[in-house]
């Protein structure tokens, strides 16, 4: 196999991996801080993609339509997430695990059907602005020029989150809340408010990712189910609540998926699960995770 071919496959794996990272990082952040597993995360991601399509179709005639739609979609999705948090999630902070899971499961069902009602079952396709219509040649390998943008967004979010957690006051609070909510609360920091904004931030990233996704290919119903399962695999591989782990996990899953699909298309997903299981045997809490919190 030629180098150029492998290189373009590598780049598409990188793109896919970073898209997974965008979804999984919000999932992992929400779980790490609030201890709530958000089943509806990918469904909100898909809503972001559909919203982006709607904004784009309103401004279709302009070249800048896509670039404006993506941040708008992210904001609109974040607003949806905020409403969910305030109306629903707030009521189940202190409930048992299965009740929390059932609530987010119900959210996924409801949003899945709302998408069907609002946008219908037809596939939606965004016509890209001319600047990203032609492939780019890197080392002689043709790369979809939009992939570069996706990679940049992924890297920017990763760096941004890292900077937020490491250098800002609120980042420190969030990190502290992962370790001990009681202690943070005792210091006079309003925990419910932190929860609301962490959830909104997670959904914002998901909405952003959805907006970016909408121009990669057509937006279709059921896309969310594939990616949520892979995002779960990512966080299990990387370890819950670890940003680094999520990034490494995403890249592993993205690249493995991208190359496996060349040689054994039907088995690509299965291979990812096999890797997940193997990592669990060696390191039950994932590559970068810390042992269970009760």
């Amino acid at each position: 196999m030629e180098f150029t071919f492998l290189f373009s496959q590598f780049m598409s794996g990188l793109t896919y991996g970073l898209m997974l990272f965008l979804v999984a990082s919000g999932l992992s952040l929400i779980f790490g801080v609030m201890n709530i597993l958000n089943f509806a995360h990918a469904t909100l991601w898909l809503i972001g993609a559909y919203i982006c399509f709607t904004f784009w179709s309103l401004m279709e005639a302009h070249q800048f339509a896509l670039w404006v739609s993506i941040p708008l979609a992210a904001l609109a999705t974040a607003a949806t997430g905020w409403v969910c948090e305030v109306v629903l999630i707030k009521r189940i902070y202190k409930r048992e695990l299965h009740e929390q899971l059932l609530i987010t499961y119900a959210m996924a069902l409801i949003f899945g059907d709302l998408i069907k009602i609002v946008w219908g079952p037809t596939d939606r396709l965004i016509v890209r602005p001319s600047i990203i219509q032609k492939p780019l040649f890197l080392f002689g390998a043709p790369i979809d020029s939009y992939f570069i943008f996706v990679i940049l967004i992924g890297v920017a979010v990763a760096v941004g989150l890292w900077w937020f957690l490491k250098y800002t006051k609120y980042g420190h609070i969030v990190k502290a809340a992962v370790y001990s909510r009681e202690m943070v609360g005792a210091l006079g920091i309003p925990i419910p408010k932190i929860y609301t904004w962490v959830f909104t931030l997670g959904i914002f990233i998901a909405g952003l990712a959805g907006g970016v996704q909408s121009a990669i290919g057509s937006v279709t119903l059921g896309m969310d189910m594939n990616i949520i399962i892979q995002a779960f695999c990512v966080v299990v591989i990387g370890g819950f609540g670890s940003l680094m782990g999520t990034l490494v996990g995403s890249l592993i899953v993205g690249e493995v998926f991208s190359f496996a699909i060349l040689y054994w298309p039907d088995g690509a997903m299965v291979l990812i699960f096999v890797i997940t299981a193997m990592i669990l045997i060696v390191k039950p809490w994932g590559l970068f995770g810390t042992p269970l919190r009760a």
Binding site: N35, L37, L88, E99, L102, I103, M107, L109, M225, P284
Partner: protein, 320 residues
């Protein structure tokens, strides 16, 4: 209290339900016989799930995988090899049990939410294998023409067949939950650490229980294929895994019959709602939210609160 009296107090409800179930086909139309058949099958599925959830205290979000393995085993054996239905049922239990053994081996290393995630991920693994293995499982077309033998072909005979199988299954499950093994599971649920300290191999017990649960999920799935005349990969999907969770929560997970009662409510609602809208997930989502927010203990939880039963009466799991 007299021993006989305790016996009656404990078993009047299941016995009464059984007799109601026998009489039903004489009083309702064929459509509702179908619905009741579904209730029985899904009720067995939910009761098997509850072995892991209510008794062992771990939430599995992937039991549909074993249900699906059972359904596909029966479907494949009947369509491709023309096996008789009776022979398919035990084989389906076996294959679902083997699936649960292989995947459960990893799952029982984890607890709580990690257990839930891993069971769900593995459930989805089974879904993808079935979904993509076109040559063997028919992929997303599923398998059609899974016809039960002629004397079971009509709705009512098949209903009685399901009733017999589900009743036997439920009785076996009841004996398991009331055995020392069942009480060990409760001990694991209530305090894993202490159970370990008295020399019980917790992981092994969890795995055995996971396999038993998987086998009975497989049995329920095996009944489903010939009932529906077809199987589709959706049976193993994560949405389907949510159903027994919801049934158990709605009926009351701390009661042996809770999941079955949950199945009655859930399936009735489904039959009723799908009559006039295709947006069943939306409606069921709203119902789930209301149930979780308003009646966390399920139906039996409410009945107990009102004091109709004392905790011990009908084999309550908690407080024993």
């Amino acid at each position: 209290m007299d021993k006989k009296y305790i016996f009656i107090k404990r078993f009047w409800l299941p016995v009464a339900l059984f007799f109601i179930a026998i009489i039903l086909p004489f009083v309702v139309s064929e459509f509702w016989v179908h619905v009741f058949n579904e209730i029985l099958i899904l009720g067995l599925f939910a009761a098997a799930f509850n072995l892991v959830f209510g008794y062992m205290g771990q939430l599995s979000f992937g039991q549909a995988a074993y249900y699906g393995i059972g359904a596909y085993t029966t479907g494949l054996l009947m369509v491709k090899l023309q096996w008789p239905l009776f022979a398919c049922l035990p084989v389906s239990m076996l294959t679902a049990g083997i699936g649960a053994l292989i995947l459960g081996y990893f799952c029982v290393k984890l607890r709580g939410i990690y257990f839930a995630i891993l069971t769900m991920a593995f459930g989805q693994l089974v879904f993808f294998i079935i979904f993509q293995w076109y040559s063997f499982t028919g992929g997303d077309n599923g398998l059609q023409g899974i016809n039960p033998p002629e004397w079971l072909f009509k709705a009512i005979p098949y209903y009685y067949f399901s009733l017999a199988v589900v009743t036997i299954g439920m009785i076996i499950l009841y004996f398991i939950t009331e055995s020392p093994f069942g009480y060990t599971l409760r001990a694991i649920r209530d305090n894993t650490e202490r159970t370990e300290f008295i020399g019980i191999n917790v992981q092994r017990y969890m795995l055995i229980n996971f396999v038993i649960s998987g086998m009975f999920c497989g049995l329920a799935g095996a009944l489903w294929g010939p009932f529906n005349r077809s199987v589709a990969p959706d049976l193993c999907g994560w949405q389907h895994s949510g159903h027994p969770v919801f049934m158990a929560v709605m009926g009351g997970p701390h009661h042996f019959l809770g999941p079955m009662i949950g199945s009655v409510i859930f399936t009735f609602l489904n039959a009723f709602v799908t009559g006039f809208t295709e947006y069943w997930p939306l409606v069921s989502g709203l119902v789930i939210i209301v149930v979780v927010l308003v009646m966390p203990g399920g139906v039996f939880g409410i009945i107990k609160e009102k004091g109709y039963f004392s905790p011990r009466d009908v084999g309550d799991v908690k407080n024993e």
